[in-house]
C-alpha cells in the first residue's frame, strides 16, 4: 500500500473550533440547562453561529491548492498503521460545513421562537447542538471510521430529536423506526469499512482512493460501493429504506427542517460524492445508485400527491429531491448533485420553516384540508412558501431550476436517457403536488372551523397511528402552547425565514455559465472529470431545459385546474372530501411498504423472538448454562478437595507431575 496524502497538512486551530464548538454547546446546555432557562436557546444558537463564522473565515484553508492537493488536512492521532484520525476540510467539506452551521444557525434562531415555552427548552438545544457536532464529525473526518462514528452519532441525535416529545407514543414509535433503519445502514457502512481495511489496510480516504485500483477487483469494489450505499439509502431515505422519513415528522418542525430536510438526510449524497473515485471506478455501482435514486425520486413524488399532512407532503418531497441528488451522484454528475443539495437545503428549510409558522399559529394543525385561505392571514408565510414552491418546481430564475436542470442534463451526458425521462416526469409530478399544497393551504376560504367529517377526514381511530395519537394529543398541546405564545416575538421565527428567501432564489445562480460557471470551477479540482465519451448528450442543454419546463408547466396547470380555479376554490370542502374518499388505496397505504415490512420482517422476527424467548433461551441456552455452571461448581469442588492444606499431599501432586514429565522425556529421549 502506498500512502496517499489527502490535503495540505498543517495545524488548523479554527478547524477544531468549528468542530468542537457545537459539542461544547451540547455539554453546556445539557449540564446547565435548568439554570440557563430561556437563555439556553440563544447560547446554543450563538455557538453554532460562531462555528459558521469560523468556517467562513477558514474559506481559504479549504480552497487552497498546491501540488494537485486541495484543502486543509489536520492529522490528529495515529493509532495502528493505517489507522490515522484527523480532520479534512476541503471544498466538499466546506460546502457541507457552511450549510450545517449556517442553516443550522438560522434554524436554531427559529427554534427559540418555535420551542419557547416547551418544558425541555434547553434540552432541545442540547440535542440540536449535539446533532450539529455529529454531522460535522461526519463531514470533517478524513477517514472511514471517523465517518462511521459521525454516521452513527447523527442517527442517535436524530433518534433523540424525533422522539423529543416522548410523551406521544407515535413520536416514540417513529424515533425507534428511524433508529432501527439507520442502524441497518450503519451496519452496511461497517461492512464496507471492514472490507476496505482487509483489502487496503488503511482507513484514510487518501489511501483508500489512491490504492483502490490495485486493492480491489471490480467485483469487490462493487461490493464495497453496495455496502456503502446501504448506509446511504438508510440515511437518505432511498427505496426501500425510506419508510422512516415520513414518520420522522413526529419531531418538532425545526428538527424536520434541519435534520430531515437540509442536512442529515443528504449524508448519503455526501458519502457518494466523497467516494467519487470509487463510484467512478465501478460502472455497476453507478448504474445501481442511479436507478435507485430515480426510483426514489418518482416514488416519493407520487406519494406526495396523496398526503394531507403538510409536513408529510414536504417529507415525501424531500425523499423525492434526495432521489434526484442520489441519481446525480450515482451516474457521476457529482457537482450537479452537490449543487442540488445546496439549493435544496435552502428552499426545503424555508418550506419547512414556513410550514412551521403555519402549524405554530394554527395551534399544531397539520392537515391542509383544515387550512385554506391563509394567504391573507399569514402573508409572510405565504411569500416564503411561494418562493420555496417556485424553487422546488424549478421555475427559471429560482435556485431549484439550475440544480435540477444540471442533474437532468447530467444524466443525459452520462448516457442514461431512461433516468432522464424519469427525472422529467418526476419534475412534473413535483410541480403538481407542490402547487396543490399551495392552493389548498393559502387560497380559498379558511376551513379550520369546518367539521372534520365534511372534509372526509376519517375519525381519528381509523387514521394512521400517527394521526390518531396526534389528534388525541392536540387538545393538551394547545393549552400548553397557549401560554407559550406570549414569550415568542414573531420576528424571531420570521427573520431566519426572511434570510433564507434570497438564498432560495439566488444560490442557484452560481451555476450560470455552464462549464465555466463559478460552481463548476469551484469543484473542478475535486471531482474526477466525466468520461470523455459520455460528454455527448443526444440533445442540447437548451432543448432539455425546455422539455423540463413544458412538463413542469403541465403539472402546474393541472394543479391549477383541480385546486386553483374559482370554481374549485368555491367548492373546496366538497372537492377535498371527494378526493379523500377516492384516494387510491395503494397510495394511501404508501405502496403497502410498511405492511410488507411488517409481514416480511416484523412478524417473522416477533415469531422468532417468541420461539427464542419461550423455548431456546430458557431451555436450551439457560439450561446449558445451568449445566455448565453446575459442572463448573462440581469441578471447582473437586479441585478444591485436592487442596487439603497438607504438605505431604501437595508434595505428592508434585511428584505425580514429575513422574508424568519423566516418562514423557524418557520416551522422547530414547527416540533419538
Amino acid at each position: 500500500m502506498t500512502h496517499t496524502p489527502l490535503g495540505i497538512e498543517g495545524s488548523y486551530p479554527l478547524l477544531y473550533l468549528i468542530w468542537l464548538l457545537p459539542l461544547a454547546g451540547a455539554v453546556i446546555l445539557w449540564t446547565f440547562g435548568p439554570q440557563l432557562r430561556s437563555l439556553g436557546g440563544p447560547v446554543g444558537a450563538a455557538l453554532v453561529g460562531t462555528a459558521f463564522v469560523a468556517a467562513l473565515v477558514s474559506w481559504n484553508d479549504a480552497t487552497q491548492i498546491s501540488d494537485k492537493l486541495g484543502g486543509a488536512h489536520a492529522p490528529m492521532v495515529s493509532w495502528l498503521p493505517g489507522f490515522a484520525f484527523g480532520l479534512l476540510f476541503d471544498r466538499l467539506a466546506l460546502v457541507w460545513t457552511l450549510i450545517i452551521t449556517g442553516v443550522g444557525f438560522l434554524i436554531h434562531v427559529y427554534s427559540i421562537g418555535y420551542m419557547s415555552g416547551d418544558r425541555a427548552f434547553a434540552r432541545f438545544f442540547a440535542f440540536l447542538n449535539f446533532f450539529v457536532f455529529a454531522m460535522l464529525t461526519l463531514v470533517l473526518s478524513d477517514n472511514f471510521v471517523g465517518l462511521l462514528i459521525g454516521w452513527g452519532l447523527v442517527g442517535l441525535a436524530s433518534y433523540f430529536l424525533i422522539g423529543f416529545w416522548f410523551e406521544r407514543p407515535s413520536a416514540v414509535a417513529a424515533a425507534r423506526k428511524a433508529f432501527v433503519i439507520n442502524v441497518l445502514g450503519d451496519v452496511g457502512i461497517l461492512f464496507a469499512v471492514i472490507v476496505i481495511v482487509t483489502k487496503v489496510g488503511s482507513i484514510g480516504y487518501g489511501d483508500v482512493f489512491g490504492n483502490a485500483a490495485q486493492a480491489f477487483t471490480s467485483g469487490e469494489l462493487f461490493v464495497v460501493c453496495l455496502a456503502l450505499f446501504v448506509g446511504c439509502a438508510a440515511k437518505s431515505a432511498q427505496v426501500p429504506l425510506h419508510t422512516w422519513l415520513p414518520d420522522a415528522m413526529e419531531g418538532p418542525t425545526p428538527v424536520s427542517a434541519l435534520i430531515h430536510a437540509a442536512t442529515m438526510v443528504t449524508a448519503g449524497v455526501y458519502l457518494i460524492a466523497r467516494c467519487a473515485p470509487l463510484w467512478t471506478a465501478s460502472a455497476e455501482a453507478r448504474e445501481l445508485v442511479g436507478v435507485i435514486g430515480a426510483l426514489t425520486a418518482i416514488a416519493g413524488a407520487v406519494l406526495g400527491i396523496a398526503q394531507w399532512d403538510i409536513k408529510r407532503i414536504l417529507a415525501y418531497s424531500t425523499m423525492s429531491q434526495i432521489g434526484y441528488m442520489i441519481m446525480a451522484v450515482g451516474v457521476g454528475a457529482f457537482s450537479a448533485g452537490v449543487l442540488h443539495f445546496l439549493t435544496h437545503a435552502f428552499f426545503k428549510a424555508e418550506l419547512f420553516l414556513g410550514a412551521g409558522i403555519i402549524i405554530h399559529n394554527l395551534a399544531d394543525e397539520q392537515d391542509v384540508r383544515r387550512m385554506g385561505g391563509l394567504r391573507k392571514q399569514m402573508p409572510f408565510a405565504f411569500i416564503a412558501m411561494l418562493v420555496g414552491v417556485l424553487a422546488i418546481c424549478g421555475i427559471p430564475g429560482f435556485s431549484g431550476y439550475f440544480s435540477k436542470d444540471a442533474i437532468l442534463y447530467g444524466t443525459l451526458q452520462h448516457g442514461h436517457p431512461i433516468l432522464y425521462a424519469v427525472g422529467v416526469i418526476t419534475a412534473g409530478i413535483t410541480a403538481y403536488y407542490m402547487f396543490r399544497l399551495l392552493f389548498v393551504t393559502f387560497f380559498g376560504q379558511f376551513r379550520g372551523n369546518v367539521d372534520a367529517s365534511d372534509l372526509g377526514i376519517r375519525h381519528p381511530d381509523s387514521g394512521t397511528p400517527g394521526q390518531a395519537a396526534r389528534l388525541a394529543h392536540e387538545a393538551e398541546e394547545r393549552e400548553h402552547h397557549g401560554s407559550g405564545h406570549a414569550h415568542a416575538p414573531a420576528w424571531i421565527m420570521s427573520a431566519p425565514v426572511a434570510v433564507l428567501i434570497p438564498f432560495s432564489i439566488g444560490i442557484g445562480w452560481l451555476a450560470i455559465g455552464g462549464e465555466n460557471s463559478p460552481w463548476q470551477t469551484f469543484f473542478a479540482p475535486v471531482f474526477p472529470a466525466a468520461p470523455a465519451t459520455a460528454d455527448v448528450a443526444p440533445i442540447p442543454e437548451l432543448l432539455s431545459g425546455v422539455i423540463v419546463l413544458v412538463v413542469v408547466a403541465a403539472g402546474i396547470a393541472l394543479a391549477y385546474l383541480r385546486y386553483g380555479t374559482k370554481a374549485a376554490l368555491g367548492a373546496s370542502v366538497a372537492r377535498l372530501r371527494a378526493e379523500t374518499m377516492k384516494m387510491p388505496p395503494v397510495l394511501v397505504n404508501r405502496y403497502y411498504f410498511d405492511a410488507a415490512i411488517d409481514a416480511l420482517f416484523v412478524k417473522p422476527a416477533a415469531a422468532a423472538g417468541r420461539f427464542f424467548g419461550s423455548f431456546v433461551d430458557p431451555v436450551v441456552i439457560d439450561g446449558g448454562v445451568r449445566e455448565v455452571a453446575h459442572s463448573a461448581t462440581w469441578l471447582g469442588h473437586l479441585f478444591r478437595s485436592f487442596q487439603t492444606g497438607l504438605v505431604r499431599g501437595y508434595a505428592l501432586y508434585l511428584v505425580f507431575g514429575v513422574a508424568c514429565f519423566v516418562v514423557y522425556y524418557a520416551v522422547i529421549g530414547a527416540g533419538k
Binding site: 498503521p81 479441585f639 504438605v647 499431599g649 501437595y650 514429575v658 514429565f661 522425556y665 522422547i668 533419538k672
Partner: protein, 478 residues
C-alpha cells in the same frame, strides 16, 4: 599465545549495576534503621530508601535498553528482554512496598524491606541469566527471601505458608538442580547456548524435563501449583502481591531464554510440548478453582494460575512474536493484578489482614471510585476491551493460532470464558445494593495504594489502546 583476557571487566560490572544498586539500597536501609528511634518514621525511612534505590535501578535498567552485552562470558545477558522483565520486577517491588508501607511491624520493616530488595535482585539475575549457574543463583536468591517474607507475620497461617513454601520449593529446586546436572552431563557446559549446539541425547531430554519442572513450579503451573493458594493466602498482602508478579517475571525470563536460545530447533517443540500442556491445564483448572474461592487472596492466586497459563501459551511454536507477546501480557498482568491488589489493600485496615469476597458487596455505592477502579482491573483480567488484558489476549491468540496450536487457542478461549464468570461475580457484588450493616467495611489509612491504582489503571488503559507496543518495543532474546 593470545593476550590474556581479563576475567572481569568494567562492562561486566556495568551490566550488574542495577542489581548492585538495589542490593546496596537494602543494606543502606538496614544500616540507617540502626540509628532510628522506635516509631512509625522507621517504616517511612526504610521504604523511602528502598524506593529511591528502586527508582535509580529502574533508570539504570532503562539505559541498558537496546545495549545487549553478554556479561561474565555469557553468564548474564545484559539488554534484550531482560530490560523489560527487570522493569516489571522493579515496578512490582515498588508497588508491593507501597501497599503496606513496608512489611511487618515498625521494627521489622527495615529488615523485610532489605529482604524484598534482595529477592528482587534474584529476579533480575534470573531475567538476564545466560547459564545454568546464574539461573540457580537467581532462583535461590529470590526464593530464600520469599520464605522469610511469607512467614513474617505472627499469624499461624503465615508461619504455615512460609514452611509449606520452603518445603515444596526446596523439592522443586531439587528437581531443577538434578535437571541441570543432567544437562551439564549431556553437554559438558553450563551455558544455555551449549545445549542447542550439543547433539540430541536422552540425557539432555530428561535434563530439560526436570529443569522445566522447576520452572513450572515457580510459575505455579498445574499440577505444580498446589502451594500457591495456601502460600498466597497465608502470606501478608504485600508479599502476595510481590510474589504474584516478581517470581513470574524471573521464571518467565528463564523459560523464555531456555525455549528460544537454548533448545535446538529440531527438538524444541517435542521438549516444550509438556510445558504447553500444563499451561493449557492451568488455564482451565486455575479458573475453575477460582470460581469457588471466597478469600480474595486465594481467588487472585487461582486467577494468577490461569493467567500464567495464557502467558506460557504465547510461547507455543516459539515464534519470535510469541516471546514478545508473552512479555507484553506479563506487563499487562502486572498492572491489572497489582491494581487489584492495591484495591484490596485499600479495603483493609490492617495491612496484614485478609479480605473476603463478601466485602465487595455494594462497594459501588460506598466507595464509587474504588469500585470503578476494581471493575476496570477485573475487566482487564477477564480480557475485555479497552484494556491491556484484551489486547494481550488477542495477541497471544494470534501467536498461538499463527503457530498452528489451535487446541491451545480453543482452551485459552474456554479458560477466558470461565474467568469472566469468576471476575464478574465480584463486579456484580459491587453493584448490588446491600444493607451496610451486614458488610465488613474497613478502610486503610495508607494513601499510597491510590497512587498504584492510578498508575496501574492508566497503564492498563494505555497498553489496551496503544498500538505499537509489543512487537516494536520488546527486544528479542539474543
Amino acid at each position: 599465545m593470545s593476550p590474556p583476557i581479563p576475567y572481569v571487566n568494567s562492562a561486566d560490572l556495568h551490566a550488574l549495576l542495577p542489581t548492585t544498586v538495589i542490593a546496596a539500597a537494602g543494606l543502606l536501609a538496614l544500616v540507617v534503621d540502626l540509628f532510628m528511634s522506635a516509631g512509625r518514621a522507621r517504616r517511612w525511612i526504610a521504604v523511602a530508601i528502598a524506593a529511591a534505590g528502586l527508582v535509580i535501578a529502574g533508570v539504570l535498567t532503562a539505559q541498558q535498553y537496546g545495549h545487549s552485552y553478554p556479561a561474565f562470558g555469557g553468564a548474564y545477558m545484559q539488554g534484550g528482554f531482560a530490560v523489560v522483565l527487570g522493569e516489571i520486577a522493579i515496578f512490582a517491588t515498588l508497588v508491593s512496598l507501597g501497599l503496606g508501607i513496608g512489611i511487618g511491624r515498625d521494627d521489622q520493616v527495615a529488615g523485610t524491606t532489605a529482604i524484598v530488595l534482595w529477592s528482587t535482585c534474584g529476579a533480575l539475575l534470573m531475567a538476564g541469566a545466560g547459564n545454568l549457574m546464574m539461573i540457580f543463583l537467581g532462583l535461590e536468591l529470590l526464593s530464600l527471601g520469599l520464605y522469610c517474607l511469607c512467614a513474617m507475620s505472627v499469624r499461624s497461617a503465615a508461619r504455615e505458608s512460609g514452611l509449606k513454601y520452603l518445603l515444596l520449593s526446596s523439592m522443586a529446586s531439587g528437581f531443577l538442580l538434578y535437571g541441570m546436572a543432567l544437562l551439564f552431563g549431556g553437554t559438558g557446559s553450563v551455558a544455555l547456548a551449549a545445549i542447542s549446539a550439543a547433539p540430541p541425547s536422552p540425557l539432555i531430554a530428561l535434563g530439560a524435563g526436570l529443569f522445566l519442572v522447576g520452572i513450572a513450579f515457580k510459575l505455579s503451573l498445574v499440577p505444580f501449583h498446589s502451594w500457591t493458594p495456601d502460600v498466597y493466602e497465608g502470606a501478608p498482602l504485600s508479599v502476595t502481591a510481590y510474589m504474584s508478579v516478581v517470581t513470574k517475571a524471573g521464571a518467565l525470563g528463564v523459560l523464555g531464554r531456555f525455549a528460544y536460545a537454548a533448545l535446538p530447533p529440531a527438538t524444541a517443540n517435542a521438549i516444550l510440548l509438556p510445558v504447553w500442556t500444563v499451561a493449557a491445564i492451568s488455564m482451565i483448572v486455575g479458573n475453575l478453582a477460582a470460581l469457588q474461592q471466597i478469600d480474595m487472596k486465594r481467588l487472585l492466586a487461582y486467577s494468577g494460575i490461569g493467567q500464567v497459563g495464557y502467558i506460557v501459551a504465547a510461547f507455543a511454536g516459539q515464534t519470535p512474536l510469541g516471546l514478545r507477546y508473552a512479555i507484553f501480557y506479563l506487563a499487562a498482568y502486572t498492572f491489572m493484578n497489582l491494581g487489584a491488589f492495591a484495591v484490596v489493600a485499600l479495603m483493609l485496615k490492617d495491612a496484614d489482614g485478609s479480605l473476603g469476597v463478601g466485602a465487595f458487596a455494594g462497594l459501588a455505592y460506598r466507595r464509587p471510585w474504588l469500585a470503578a477502579a476494581m471493575t476496570f482491573f477485573l475487566l482487564s483480567l477477564a480480557g475485555l476491551p479497552p484494556t491491556a488484558g484484551f489486547t494481550g489476549k488477542i495477541l497471544i491468540l494470534a501467536s498461538s493460532v499463527g503457530a498452528g496450536y489451535w487446541w491451545l487457542s480453543v482452551l485459552l478461549i474456554a479458560g477466558t470464558a470461565i474467568s469472566v464468570y469468576v471476575y464478574f461475580k465480584i463486579v456484580r457484588a459491587m453493584f448490588v445494593r446491600v444493607d451496610e450493616a451486614h458488610v465488613r467495611a474497613e478502610r486503610s489509612t495508607n494513601p499510597l495504594p491510590w497512587i498504584s491504582i492510578a498508575v496501574c489503571a492508566a497503564a492498563v488503559f494505555v497498553l489496551g489502546i496503544y498500538p505499537l507496543a509489543p512487537s516494536d518495543i520488546i527486544p528479542l532474546a539474543k
